[in-house]
């Protein structure tokens, strides 16, 4: 049902654009950022699908690669930029920056910037939800690298053992090997690792947001029905601009018109979830001009947000000592 709706609306497109333009403007304003940061470019399909399945009482844990999750969920873009720029206007008043960005208003209470750090925490949040909210779930996002950490395996086991209402979403942008999940795993697939702990799930081609939505909606439904945790291996392409510390805009600003013909590079031609969603919409009869209108509106919003955040003041120095512990 959801997929049918997705076909007929630009809902996914709008969220993909909101996330993509946010990161593109951030890269263009990188001079305002101190310290390292990461962007979500190329991984936005899971984020774009999330708001459709998330209910207001659901919680979400994310990672240091969190911009798309927050942007797609509707967190205030000016506030997000302000936090990334270390300004007092940020939700976290300049203590968090990009890697710890969170927003309780969209169900994100705390963002660990440590690989696997948020995974055990998601379990406890899911447990708390079972005590207070019927049918509520916790969405737990992490990257493929987290499978190198023991905490992920412990958490899959415990979530399964206690049938916690949790949707594990692995944003997987590691290249698959012929006979194993990736360069760092000996198991045949990440799904096989989850299945070893009796956490069932599915793998999906996360270069295609509509496919991700369909998979996420099915798994979330299972979890809400009390079937225990589920696992989504969301296999995305690898955006060429990612780097250990400072990403660079390897592909330049996205031009939706590239969805019409052959794009000039491999990533745009096959891997970009935003262009792939545009292609899907075109194939269902959507006019490109209408998408360009949406893009102009969202781009203007993002442009305005980054300008306002750049003008926001830094927090007064004495606030460095606040909120360490309660009074």
């Amino acid at each position: 049902m959801a997929t049918v709706t997705a076909v007929r609306t630009t809902e996914l497109l709008e969220r993909l654009l909101r996330a993509r333009r946010f990161d593109e403007f951030l890269l263009a304003n990188a001079d305002a950022v101190r310290g390292h940061f990461h962007v979500s470019i190329g991984l936005e399909a899971t984020a774009a699908a999330l708001p459709r399945v998330r209910r207001a009482s659901d919680l979400v844990t994310t990672t240091y690669r969190n911009h798309a999750h927050l942007a797609a969920l509707g967190s205030d873009l000016t506030v997000m930029y302000a936090e990334i720029f270390g300004r007092d206007l940020g939700h976290q008043r300049g203590r968090a920056g990009s890697t710890h960005l969170s927003d309780p208003g969209v169900g994100m209470l705390h963002t660990s910037a440590m690989v696997s750090g948020g995974v055990p925490i998601a379990l406890g949040q899911a447990h708390a939800l079972t005590r207070s909210r019927e049918g509520a779930v916790c969405f737990c996002f992490f990257g493929d690298g987290a499978f190198g950490e023991g905490a992920v395996h412990e958490s899959l086991n415990l979530a399964s053992l206690w049938r916690l209402p949790i949707v594990f979403v692995c944003e997987n942008n590691a290249a698959a090997e012929a006979d194993r999940a990736n360069d760092y795993q000996s198991a045949a697939s990440l799904l096989a690792l989850a299945e070893a702990h009796a956490v069932h799930g599915t793998a999906v081609d996360a270069r295609h947001p509509a496919a991700v939505l369909e998979a996420l909606e099915a798994l979330t439904g299972d979890v809400r029905d009390g079937s225990g945790p589920r696992f989504l291996d969301a296999q995305a392409g690898r955006w060429p601009g990612n780097a250990t510390f400072f990403p660079h805009d390897a592909t330049g600003p996205t031009d939706l018109r590239d969805a019409q013909g052959d794009a000039d590079d491999a990533w745009r031609s096959t891997d970009d979830p935003l262009l792939n969603e545009c292609r899907r919409l075109i194939s269902t009869g959507f006019a490109l001009d209408r998408m360009l209108d949406i893009d102009r509106r969202i781009t203007a919003e993002v442009d305005d947000a980054v300008r306002r955040a750049r003008l926001a003041p830094v927090a007064p120095p004495d606030t460095a000592f606040r909120d360490v512990v309660g009074s």
């Binding site: 844990t61 705390h110 750090g117 995974v119 447990h127 708390a128 412990e154 053992l161 909120d323 309660g326």
Partner: protein, 319 residues
């Protein structure tokens, strides 16, 4: 009105009281007193509030942190303190940062309970003092009861507060007896002067308070009057109470079961010497070797009542 009870009884009663009073309080793991102390009945009385995770400390502790953020009040009996090393990423790097990284919007009121220090002949890997390491982590409270009244009050303070707490417990305190007030003494950042003497002040926490009291009793027989100041909490550190007591004594001995480097006692002594430079002070900590199995060797490392008394006596005599 007060009642006289053993430490382990006060601990169980306090935990039971908090479980009764607040439906959000839960145990993530059940080994509060077992296997070393007498059975306390908690496992039977509150079975529906106790979860039993597998041996997965990182996930056990992270689970509790997440539950705390989402509105519950988890108490995590980790058992032997060194088990928490498996959960270091969660205890040292997640829980203490929740409030700060959220700009004060979110808190993680979780209690990590550990049996720290030497319980004698458990060997090098089961006799650590991680409180010394974790006092370097802002955002974490560290409570270290030494008496039945302390554990009664500090269990309540930990479960009623809004911050993550490391509750530093000690197996060898189980049989210590003392008076417990009708209302829990949940003050934090306040030290208690447990004994008064005019010649030397001994500042300590946890089991070392009991050894300091025994040392003071033996010094009295030699005509030396020793005061004993019980820190009760290491974070917040009761610096004002310590300075007040230090100024009332000609000499001060700081005692800590942790090894000296990075210990609470060494930091406290530095703070005192900064504020009151004329203080005559000495430090007694565990020596820098792992805890050996053989008791005769162990007594060379961990401060004994005799060593505390001996150093206090030499301080009191001005030597």
């Amino acid at each position: 009105m007060t009642s006289t009870v053993a430490y382990w009884q006060a601990r169980a009663a306090a935990l039971g009281r908090e479980l009764d009073a607040d439906g959000r309080v839960m145990l993530v793991g059940g080994y509060v007193s077992a296997p070393f102390n007498p059975p306390d009945g908690l496992l039977q009385r509150y079975a529906d509030r106790i979860l039993w995770p597998p041996i997965s400390e990182a996930t056990q502790c992270g689970f509790a942190i997440g539950a705390a953020m989402a509105g519950l009040r988890p108490f995590v009996p980790i058992g032997t303190s060194s088990f928490m090393f498996y959960a270091w990423p969660q205890i040292a790097n997640e829980a203490p940062n929740v409030r700060y990284l959220s700009g004060g919007l979110v808190t993680a009121p979780v209690v990590f309970h550990v049996m720290a220090g030497s319980r004698r002949s458990s060997g090098a890997q089961h006799e650590h003092t991680p409180q010394a390491m974790l006092q370097n982590v802002p955002g974490l409270r560290i409570f270290a009861p030494a008496t039945p009244a302390d554990v009664d009050g500090l269990v309540s303070a930990a479960l009623r507060g809004d911050d993550p707490v490391l509750l530093v417990d000690h197996v060898l305190l189980a049989d210590a007896t003392g008076d417990v007030p009708d209302e829990p003494d949940a003050r934090i950042g306040r030290a208690d002067l447990l004994r008064r003497g005019s010649d030397v002040l001994i500042v300590a926490y946890s089991l070392m308070v009991q050894r300091a009291l025994a040392a003071a009793a033996s010094l009295e027989a030699s005509g030396i009057g020793a005061s004993v100041l019980n820190l009760r909490t290491l974070a917040p550190l009761p610096i004002a109470d310590v300075l007040g007591a230090v100024r009332n004594h000609p000499a001060t001995l700081f005692v800590d079961e942790a090894r000296g480097p990075g210990s609470t006692a060494s930091y406290l002594m530095a703070r005192v010497l900064e504020e009151a430079p004329s203080t005559v002070a000495r430090l007694v900590c565990s020596h820098e070797a792992p805890s050996p199995f053989a008791e005769a060797l162990l007594d060379e490392i961990v401060p004994t009542t005799e060593r505390i008394a001996s150093v206090a006596a030499s301080l009191a005599r001005g030597k």
